[in-house]
Structure formats: structure tokens, C-alpha cells
Amino acid sequence: MAAGPMKMRATLLGGVTDVRVLMSHPMETGQRKGPDGQLVPLHFIQNVTVKVNGKTVVEGQISQAISRNPVFSFRIKGGAKGDKIEVSWLDNKGETNKTETAVA
């Protein structure tokens, strides 16, 4: 399944930038049986990286126990309107996706 859409919102409030990112990913645990009765293979995001103006501020390692279509929230100290936030992911198959937004 090709990497689905990603959506992100970064809002500045009270000196903190709240970053909320939606990811489309099956996050298969390898324990689920598909319609053909066979186990659907392990397929999940392993790494999530958050960058502010090109600088990495959060490195996340996650497991297949994170919910399907993961939604994360992070908080950046300060930040100014227009700052560039980028969130990218890498899964166990080597597939990646990323999205970028400006702080509003």
C-alpha cells in the first residue's frame, strides 16, 4: 500500500508551538489475519522525526502497537509564525513519507 496522505497543523499559543500530525499507515502488528485467513505481515512506522527550520528537535522510535493511522502531538519551545516544521517517518519496509507546514 503506497504511503497515504499526511496532514499537520502547527499553532503558536502562549509561547509554545503545538504540532499535531496525522499519518496514514496500517501499523500492522503481524498478528492480524487478513480476509484470506493468512496473517498480515508486520508493517509499521519505526521512526518519526520532527524538525524545526531544518533542525531535528524530536526523534521518536515507535512500535507496531501504536494505533493505525497514527496521530501525534508534539510541543516546540517558543517558535514564531512562519517557522518551518517538518515531520517525517520511516517504516520497517524502508518506506518513508513527510510533510511540512509553517507555524500559524
Binding site: 524530536v58 522510535q61 501504536i66 497514527p70
Partner: protein, 153 residues
């Protein structure tokens, strides 16, 4: 050792040397490491050991915001904040999951030690959060009951 394997090892060695010399970029532009041992651990204690965070101290400065009862275990929203000064990392574990460690977040300069995440829980369980600050580890736990709703199917 057969020739093919020897050849591969030679190539890998060459690549590693080039990578180390900064002459080759990693294929994914990630310094992507994934702690296989910690994520493969079958108990929270073993996972924490793999993370080098055994024997964390209970702390009220590690705050877990979550529902007491989840209507479904497929998506359990959890919000975590650490006000322990100098927190650089937060690990999230679900004690009764087959593999308790579900996430580890490292925070660099610029990020607050805060994360909101949706987790899968197989059954009612303690959620265990370990924050690391200045080489020391601090823990908080919260019980979340998981129920099933609806007609099923």
C-alpha cells in the same frame, strides 16, 4: 564462508567506510536507529533494562493524561508531560502488551518533553512512562481499563 558472502562483506565494509567518511549519505536521510532489543522485550522490566533505564524512581513530575476506561483498545489516546528539569527522553510502555515498549521519544534543544500518542492495548493494563533527565530515570504509571463496545464484527 563462501565467495558471495565474502564479497558482500567486503562491499559492506567499503560502504561503511564511505559512510563514516561522510562521502555517502544514508539511503533514507535518517540517522534511523530502532532499538530492536528494547522493542522486542516481553516484559516492561526487560525493555527498561535494554533502554538502560532500570530502577526508575517514582515521580509526580511525570504526568500521564488518559481516559480511565477506553471504549475500544485499538485507539487509546495518551498525553504525557515531564516537568522533570532537563528531560531528554520519554519511554512509553503498556505492561500487559505482548511487547510492552511502544515508544521512545528523544527531545533535543527546542522541544518540550511532551507527547500525545494513540496506542493499542490488548487488555486492561498499567501504562508506564519513564522520563530520563540527567542520566536518571523517573517513572509514573496509570491504569487504563479496556472494554469492548458495540455489536462486534
Amino acid at each position: 564462508m563462501n565467495d558471495q558472502r565474502r564479497g558482500l562483506l567486503r562491499a559492506a565494509g567499503a560502504l561503511a567506510a564511505l559512510l563514516a567518511a561522510g562521502l555517502l549519505k544514508p539511503i533514507a536521510a535518517f540517522a534511523a536507529s530502532w532499538n530492536k532489543d528494547a522493542f522486542g522485550a516481553k516484559s516492561a522490566a526487560d525493555a527498561l533494562k535494554s533502554l538502560g533505564a532500570s530502577q526508575p524512581v517514582a515521580s509526580k513530575d511525570v504526568v500521564i493524561e488518559a481516559p480511565q476506561i477506553a471504549e475500544n483498545g485499538a485507539v487509546v489516546p495518551i498525553e504525557i508531560t515531564s516537568t522533570v528539569p532537563g528531560t531528554t527522553s520519554i519511554a512509553v510502555l503498556i505492561d500487559k502488551n505482548p511487547f510492552p515498549l511502544v515508544g521512545k521519544f528523544d527531545f533535543m534543544e527546542g522541544a518540550l518533553p511532551f507527547v500525545k500518542v494513540n496506542v493499542k492495548m490488548g487488555e486492561s493494563s498499567d501504562v508506564r512512562v519513564v522520563a530520563t533527565a540527567g542520566g536518571k530515570h523517573y517513572v509514573a504509571t496509570r491504569e487504563i481499563k479496556v472494554t469492548i463496545g458495540g455489536c462486534g464484527g
